[in-house]
Each structure stands twice: as structure tokens, then as C-alpha cells.
């Protein structure tokens, strides 16, 4: 059954979209990741204009992270003070990201930027995850115990404007969480991702937050930052397709339920190596698209919708 998407302005198979939602939802449920970094490239592959894919995916991530954030809130797993600082940073970052996005859309380079950002970040993250899980597997094979490092004082402790975060048991400078929040905000605006894959490691390794508040706080930040991104893209480029976002959400909710159950049966490092391979796969496909000579060198866009702002 075909469905016409009002903002993307094209007709696409409804079941294909639902299947994509279920598939990505399944994977995100299984691996415990947001799935934006899989969904956005997938939307682009099936022909949704990259700008619409990014903006709409930000909207969908708001929907898929809000219930998770609510669950963690009831468990007391959110550091609101830290979350607030991260959101402030995220708001600034997403404003900058949306501005870059709008500028590049007008000059016709937004598709290139999205592809480059994906290749760069997926390549980096995928390689790091792959290496980490290989190390764990080798260590398990040799029967060594994981080494626990004591936190050492670094340049982070030397930064000014320190603030106490009771829930996270930290007394640190607000500059670092502001910067991390800002980076995630930029990525959310230009890539259509929640940014959990950057946020969670950054909270654990850079901010030294206890693991019981990491996921909840990052979900809170993601909910707010993607909401801000949705608003900015709606105002700047009118690229948020509510209908597309809702269809993807329905699929994702179903998929995530099944995925979470399957994920419980697999071991952590196996899961992580699978995820790493998938991330690297998406990265390779996008990189291939950049380096091969396109069949059609010329592309067209409506002049008014493209450079009028």
C-alpha cells in the first residue's frame, strides 16, 4: 500500500516504512541504542531527501526516548542538575548545528555533509567498539580479570566554574558537560541521531558519573535536545515530516519489544561486536557512495525552496 508523505512530497510503500521501523526498533531494543544512526541512512537509501530524513528522525527520537526517560525517572535514575547543564549545552549546539544545516542546504552541500559526518563518526565509533569487544573476548579467552583503573586527576579537574552534582557524586567544572552537551546537539541537528553513542561513553569516562544515572540522564538530554532540533528544523527548513515520524515510531515500538527480549539471551561482548560490525557496514556503504563516480553527474532542486532563505 502506497502512502504519500506530505513534507517529503513522495509516495512510498507503507509496509516498507513499517518494516524499517520494526527492523531498526528490533536492533535498538537488542543493543540498547537509539537507532537514529541506522534509521537516517536507511531513510536516505530508500529515497527520502537527506534533509527530511535527518529532521524527521530527530522528531522520531524524541518520541522513542521520552518513555525510556520516564521509566528511569521513576527509578530515580536521572541526575536533573547534570541533565539541565547538558541540555543547555545541547540547545546551543543544536542551534549551531541547525544553522550550519540551513546554510549548507541553501548552497546544495547538505547531502554531502550528512554523508561525511556519518562516515566519520560511524567509522570512529565502530572501530572503537570493535576493538573494545575484541580485547574483552581475548581477555576472557586468556582468563584474565579486567583491570580496574583508579581515576587519576587530569586537566578536567583544573577547569574553573565548578559545580556540585549530588546525584552523580561529582564536583566538577560545568564547562565539560556543557561542551559534551553541545557536541551532541550539533550531531543531533546535522545527523538526525540522539547521540547516545557519544553521550554514554563521555558520561562514564569523562564525567565519571555512576552507571545507574548515566542512561536515564542521557535519555533526558536526548529527549530535550531532539525536541529542540525538531523545532529548529521546522522553522528553518520545513523538513520535519510528522506522518513519516509517526509511521516509523509505530514500527520501532513493536520491534524494540522483540529486540529487547532477544538481547537478553546474548552475551554483552557478542552483542557489542555485532553492533560494531553493523556500524562499520553502514559506514562502508556511505563511504562507497561518496567515492564512486555517480551515474548521473547532474542533480536538480527547486530554486525557491532551496536558496530562498
Amino acid at each position: 500500500m502506497q502512502i504519500y508523505l506530505p513534507i517529503a512530497e513522495l509516495s512510498i510503500n507503507l509496509y516498507l516504512l513499517l518494516a524499517m521501523g520494526v527492523g531498526v526498533g528490533f536492533l535498538s531494543g537488542m543493543f540498547g541504542v537509539g537507532g537514529g544512526f541506522l534509521m537516517t541512512p536507511l531513510l536516505i537509501f530508500v529515497g527520502i531527501p537527506p534533509a527530511v530524513a535527518v529532521a524527521t528522525e530527530a522528531n522520531q527520537i524524541t518520541a522513542s526516548s521520552v518513555s525510556g526517560a520516564a521509566v528511569h525517572y521513576r527509578r530515580g535514575g536521572i541526575d536533573f542538575k547534570m541533565g539541565f547543564v547538558l541540555i543547555i549545552g545541547g540547545a546551543g549546539g543544536s542551534y549551531v548545528g541547525a544553522w550550519i544545516f540551513t546554510m549548507l542546504k541553501a548552497s546544495g552541500q547538505v547531502d554531502l555533509m550528512i554523508a561525511l559526518a556519518y562516515v566519520l563518526f560511524l567509522g570512529l565509533i565502530g572501530a572503537m567498539m570493535f576493538w573494545e569487544s575484541v580485547k574483552v573476548i581475548i581477555r576472557n579467552y586468556k582468563g584474565e580479570a579486567p583491570t580496574v583503573k583508579r581515576r587519576v586527576r587530569t586537566w578536567v579537574d583544573a577547569l574553573p566554574f565548578k559545580m556540585r552534582f549530588r546525584k552523580s557524586k561529582q564536583y566538577i567544572s560545568v564547562i565539560l558537560p556543557l561542551l559534551i552537551g553541545a557536541l551532541v546537539g550539533v550531531l543531533a541537528a546535522i545527523m538526525g541521531v540522539g547521540g547516545g553513542f557519544i553521550m554514554v561513553p563521555a558520561m562514564i569516562y569523562l564525567l565519571n558519573m555512576p552507571t545507574n544515572v548515566v542512561i536515564g540522564t542521557s535519555l533526558l538530554q536526548i529527549t530535550f535536545v531532539t525536541a529542540i532540533v525538531t523545532f529548529l528544523h521546522s522553522v528553518n527548513t520545513q523538513t520535519v515530516d510528522i506522518m513519516l515520524a509517526l509511521i516509523l515510531l509505530v514500527g520501532a515500538v513493536i520491534g524494540a519489544q522483540v529486540g529487547a527480549r532477544v538481547g537478553l539471551k546474548l552475551r554483552g561482548e557478542q552483542l557489542r561486536i555485532l553492533l560494531a560490525i553493523m556500524v562499520l557496514g553502514v559506514c562502508a556503504v556511505m563511504a562507497y557512495g561518496l567515492v564512486t563516480e555517480p551515474e548521473e553527474l547532474y542533480s536538480i532542486a527547486r530554486a525557491s525552496a532551496d536558496g530562498g532563505h
Binding site: 509516495s11 525538531t230 506522518m243 547532474y298
Partner: protein, 266 residues
């Protein structure tokens, strides 16, 4: 003197021909199976029928009793086009390892949809001059370039634009897509892809005989988004801030509801 006589006779014949010519005029009656296409959420393109009849109001040699059936091989050409717009055409260039959008030029006077159908190949029906005059055919479209650039670059960009539009199914030239029955009735099926631009379309039918356009008729067609599609599109473009807020509210509510339902299920 005989020379003069022949000349006078010829002139008279020519004059007579000119005078009686209007009597030979055919009339075209055309219609579209729909005069409106509504783009709604189930829209996946539309097929329309353009049909009509050739009303042969011809002075016949025997005063109208017999039927003159030779020398009347009509050809029909139909051109359907939407309003003209400006397009940016970009060319990809290799920069180091990767292909990026390089040079770009704005081309104006480009119809968002343009289809030519005919009973026979266009080159067999009309001379290039006439085709050009009536803008029949993709290569006779009068595109305008905003920038002053060499002719070769212009023609490359123009060809690129046409290839792109053809690939989207928005530009088409289909020979033998119009059929004529008994030299009176004609019909053609028109296909409109789902990505068709909205707005007013003109469908012009040309009646051609002996290499000349002897009649033409234009009917109009309206393409518009309807229902929820129209509402969402207008809302997003006219009050984009409010649309953004609504998108957030819907997402939060849908996300919360989805979480609630999956909680109940597990």
C-alpha cells in the same frame, strides 16, 4: 497575353483558395477524464484520459453528399505542462577522493511537468521550425539561464536537467501514444507520477495535417494537495514554529503512549 491570362488565372485560384480556406476549418473538441487531481495520503500517481473528436466541417466537392475520405490523414499532438519554475542544476565534481556538488546554475522557465504525446514521431509530423515555434518537444523548451555562461556549458546543464526530469517521470516524449479512430475520435492516456508538482496544468491538443497546425485547443487541469496532506503541508510552511511545537507534542504523547502500551504487554 496568354502569359498574363495564366497569371491572372493562377492569382484568382490562389485568392479563391484563400477566401474559401476558412470553410475548410476543422474544429477540435477535447476533454479530460478529470479536471482535477487531488493528492491525498493514498496518492501514488494518477492516470488520466485526454480525449476528443475532430469535427470535420469541410466543404466537400459534391456539395456535401458524399464522403471525401482521402487526403485527410490527421495527426494529433498533445502537450501537457505545468507552470514554469526556477531550478538549480548542480554538477558533481571529483574533489580528492570524493564526489561533491561543484558548479551550479539557475535555470528558469522550466515546467515542473512536461509531456508530449503524438500519433507519429514528431519529426514526421511537423518541421523543426514549427515544432520550435509551438514549443513542442523537450529540445524546444525555452529555458533561460540566470548566469552568462558558454554555450557548451549551457547545453550540458540543460541536458542534465532534462535527464533528471525524465528519470523522475516528469518529462516525457511518447510517440504513437495518441490513437485516432476513423479520423474522428482520438484518445491518449496520460500518466502523472506521485511526485508531480501542484498547480495549474495546461493540456493543449494540436491538430496537424500536411505539415501544418490547423487547429488547437487548450484545456486546464488543477493539481492540488487535499485533506490531511494539504493541512500538514500548509501548516508546516505557513506557521512553521507552531508546526514544530506540535511535532514535539505529538512525539512526546505518542512516545509516552507507546511506552505505556508496551509496558502493559510485557
Amino acid at each position: 497575353m496568354t502569359r498574363y491570362k495564366t497569371l491572372i488565372a493562377l492569382l484568382t485560384a490562389a485568392l479563391m483558395f484563400l477566401i474559401v480556406k476558412p470553410v475548410f476549418a476543422e474544429r477540435l473538441v477535447t476533454d479530460l477524464s478529470h479536471d482535477k487531481i487531488a493528492i491525498n495520503s493514498r496518492f501514488s500517481g494518477a492516470d488520466l484520459l485526454l480525449f476528443g473528436a475532430i469535427d470535420r466541417n469541410i466543404l466537400q466537392e459534391d456539395g456535401g453528399h458524399g464522403v471525401l475520405s482521402f487526403g485527410l490523414d490527421y495527426d494529433i499532438i498533445m502537450v501537457v505542462s505545468s507552470a514554469v519554475k526556477d531550478f538549480v542544476v548542480r554538477k558533481k565534481e571529483k574533489m580528492g577522493m570524493i564526489w561533491v556538488n561543484g558548479a551550479n546554475h539557475v535555470i528558469s522557465n522550466v515546467p515542473g511537468y512536461f509531456i508530449v504525446g503524438s500519433t507519429n514521431p514528431l519529426s514526421e509530423i511537423l518541421t523543426p521550425d514549427l515544432l520550435k515555434k509551438h514549443e513542442i518537444g523537450l529540445k524546444y523548451l525555452k529555458f533561460k539561464f540566470k548566469d552568462n555562461i558558454p554555450k557548451k556549458v549551457k547545453s550540458d546543464f540543460k541536458a542534465g536537467l532534462i535527464r533528471n526530469m525524465k528519470a523522475k517521470g516528469l518529462f516525457m516524449e511518447v510517440e504513437k501514444s495518441v490513437s485516432i479512430k476513423d479520423e474522428i475520435l482520438f484518445r491518449a492516456k496520460l500518466h502523472f507520477p506521485a511526485n508531480m508538482p501542484v498547480g495549474k496544468y495546461n493540456a493543449t491538443v494540436y491538430l496537424v495535417r500536411d505539415g501544418a497546425v490547423i487547429a488547437r485547443k487548450t484545456s486546464s487541469l488543477l493539481v492540488d494537495k487535499e485533506g490531511i496532506e494539504r493541512t500538514i503541508y500548509n501548516f508546516a510552511h505557513e506557521s512553521s514554529a507552531l508546526y514544530g511545537l506540535l511535532a514535539i507534542v505529538i512525539a512526546v504523547f505518542a512516545g509516552w503512549a507507546a511506552g505505556y502500551i508496551s509496558n502493559k504487554m510485557s
